[in-house]
Assembly symmetry: D2
Homo-oligomer: 317 residues x 4
């Protein structure tokens, strides 16, 4: 099958990496992320060219935040880049002269974990990516399930709270408003504002005010027992676990895999997630219960997964 | 492949039917539903024997309300029958000397609609069964997706309202507490109690009190414009549509099929369901939108689907 | 002004007590609570006669669970006794030949705490009674505010959760479904069922099953650090505090007083209540913040308050 | 008692009016609202001087959006003006040489309606002001109840939805996020975006897009039967009515009065408000039910009320 290149489009860098059939990254190349949609195509091509030097490459997989169509060719819509009905596959193929596959970035990360990470012994897994927002991917029967139109697994937009928080998607109460890095910061700000005496360490890590709290402060302070920080993680975990219980009712997977930047905290997050998940799981005493595992590939999951998907035919939905 | 028998276990009757490969029912036989778990096995055998007379049968499919394991053999748990880890396949096979497959009844109905009903031109559909409660089934890539352990598609237990109504499952806020026949009756009772002047027709169909309202009264009165009844259907539809929007974010199906007894009302229910679904659908302007269609097999979907599943190998999850 | 008698109608006993102008109880007399509405009137008269021996009494105050009219004479409705438009004042006066005042029991308890207990230095207090359910009373400008029709301060039926738990009142999401002794038991049962390993002590105090958990087990286990029990108190406290924050926005009292059986746990309950209250209080940094204090009269507040109200003219609303 | 001046501080104009003891406005004077806190004091003085010409004035009442202390002298906090612990009474008295009383603007409007408008035959009323946000006032026993610290009746910040919409106050789920002019616009935008075919008239009144919808478009279109507009009013009304039901449980008033700009729509709003109120009212069949009436003073309620409050001593809470 040969080597493929995975591309990960981040907010500041675009990374391309040569990946072998076992998920090993043989080389990487990074370029800054430009501002405009057209320049990003150029940058993707530059990154691919930078990475491919000296390797025989058979294809390219690109992970992009947004809705990707069923042909894995066109980006219907991207939240952070001005792509609307963007024929990304065709544009990049025209530059790099290699077959290109486009995939949603959370789908790519899910596939990476399934193939080479925490899910490599599973056949049916649901992956959740907890970063600034919340994304995910569905593996059923050893295949990535992309939906009939390509836009499945938008877990972050499952409505958790009727009439709840406004979401960037225009709707209200979406899961990612309660279970994401942004939500964690909101919990900490609200708590530190109400009971600053319980947040002395947390506040000392920033500018001293609740407004100055950042995500990294919360994880640092939580590890040292700062009460507001620990309580904020617990609140986050309550929402993550409640959503997993829903997904268990719907998908009945073999296992859940929790990835994304927030999963770096490990058991600080996962232990209360499992507790909440067990609390809200329907039929807990009468059914096999899916495990909740931490992702193992860290920030490489998306790049590795995208590269590997360039070798896979698309599954029907 | 030959003929198979489908068995539908209802609250008052157990029906068995001989079904051909095109979903035609060649004969049926019914027996009363007995009270005890063991007697139900006898009754299933009697119904099968009654229906098979004169036909060459190659297998039996049983649709049962409850959790069924991945081997389609054991009922982990049933809400209305005292089955706990019940080896139903083995017990019925011992009586009827035919290969038996056990399936969740809503899964069976979903399969029936997919194969011979409203979904026969679809490859990827989500079916919702709106009866006393709310069930459903998942078809992805032309296969029934049963979950890794066999208990997927428990849509009725997706949590729609945090801290919401107690459910028979022991949890709170489950979708079926807001979108089901029981919910419809509750809406009508609450409204008729608060504003009896808007429910004169509805109240006249029962004993004159809100407590005496039954589901059939509401559909009759709604068709004649009774305001409380129409508003109750709309409230039901709001919850159905909101849940479909969630399922679209998760599964991205080609189409939804709405079946079960409440779907008999047709557009009285479906028109406001579609309105609510569109309202809450995430990304509506940027993605292909799955249709919402009415089931077409009526009360036969489960029997026909169960019979047909007896011919199908189980898909992985 | 002389001595008055306060009457407290409990589930098993009716207690009458002679109370002086300083709130001292000079004597008490108890009779069993009978089953029928009419027999309860007899029992009230017996209790009054038993208590009054040897004292010069100028009036009787009766605290009754239910809606009492603005004349403090008629019980519109009682949840636990079959009183509907019951002229209780007239019936009891006919037996005891003393002026009688009827008051809602939680109002009476609030007045008792205001006059002789935790609120004796306050002019404007909101009292909350946390027992099996949740009741309360309003003191504004040194007067008990009973509402225009006599039925104010039904705090337990403030809707906290749209589409929430069914309440005995026929509505959904009432505060007392989330903040009461019954709610505490529900929290503990749900948690013990999901994570029995965290409830070993709690389960050992009953029959070993989640269903066997009682309120007294939870308080005992919580004091010894049982995790499910402590978490259940915290969940209860979250809801109590959130409701207090609402009441602060509406009434802006000088202080809150928390009474009723659950308040016996003291800081085990009050400390997390204050934390939640501060978290949800609107304008916390820009307004004086009402204190949250524990009641001090215990189970006597209602009897003492009812007796004292027999000396007070009713305030307009 | 003589004549007093009422001052209404609006977003674009500051209006002062000379008001007699019967609530008649004898003269008015308006000045533009300046940008800075200090300039607003100057503008208030100018408006008072402009209005007083030729009249013998005994006092001034100022209605200000914000928290006002119990002495009716200091503004703790104002949302739209940079007042923090602002000694407004002293500053204005220094300019106009008249006794000044400061009051929350919604309290002033409530008092105006109670004294001279829809509540003039009531003793115990709750007034709701539905404008861009939601405010209100409490009249109990013929007195304005301002709270122990002066900041009662912040109805708009009663939490209606746990984990609900973010509010400008920093909390979530506040009533005014669901029941206000801003909420109405949000409802219409969401609906017009999902089902533009039901909003043709509404969209034609603006720039043709959901984003271009303004409040005035919705009222115009609703009066002509535009479906999205009518449904948006109904959704607004559901939330208004649900909140009134809560306030009835807490305050048990004789009547509710609905004022503010949204009340100009009259029965278009009030009829569905009453329906929702009745639906959620606890104990509806067993208690006298407070009326829901429209305000009658329109935009003058605040000015007239503030003027009249300058004649009233403050009530304890």
């Amino acid at each position: 099958m040969g080597l493929t290149i995975g591309v990960d489009i981040g907010g500041t860098k675009i990374a391309a990496g040569v990946v072998d059939e076992d998920g090993n990254i043989l080389s990487t190349f990074k370029v800054p992320t430009p501002d405009t949609a057209e320049a990003i195509v150029d940058a993707i091509a530059s990154a691919v060219d930078g990475a491919r030097a000296g390797h025989q490459i058979v294809g390219v997989g690109i992970g992009a935040a947004g809705y990707v169509d069923r042909q894995r060719a066109t980006v219907y819509f991207a939240p952070n880049i001005d792509w609307r009905q963007e024929p990304l596959k065709a544009k990049v193929e025209a530059r790099v002269d290699l077959p290109v596959v486009v995939e949603n970035d959370a789908n790519a990360a899910a596939w990476g974990e399934y193939r080479f990470g925490a899910g490599r012994d599973n056949r049916n897994v649901i992956c959740i990516t907890l970063g600034t927002g919340l994304g995910g991917g569905i593996i059923i029967g050893d295949k990535l399930r992309r939906g009939h139109f390509g836009v499945a697994a938008e877990f972050g937009h499952m409505r958790m709270v009727p009439d709840g928080l406004l979401c960037g998607c225009g709707k209200q109460g979406c899961w990612e408003q309660y279970a994401s890095g942004r939500a964690l910061v909101r919990y900490a700000k609200q708590r530190a504002s109400a009971t600053p005496g319980n947040a002395e360490l947390l506040l000392s890590l920033g500018d001293g005010t609740p407004e100055g709290i950042e995500g990294k402060h919360i994880s640092t302070a939580a590890r040292q027992g700062d009460r507001v920080s620990v309580d904020s993680y617990r609140e986050l975990a309550r929402w993550v676990g409640a959503g997993l219980a829903d997904l268990a009712s719907l998908f009945d997977p073999e296992a859940f895999i929790i990835g994304g930047g927030l999963s770096d905290e490990g058991e600080l997050l996962l232990e209360p997630v499992r507790k909440s998940y067990r609390r809200w799981l329907v039929g807990g005493g009468w059914r096999p219960v899916a495990e909740v595992n931490a992702a193992t590939l860290g920030g490489k999951a998306g790049l590795v997964g995208a590269a590997d998907l360039a070798r896979q035919p698309a599954a029907p939905m």
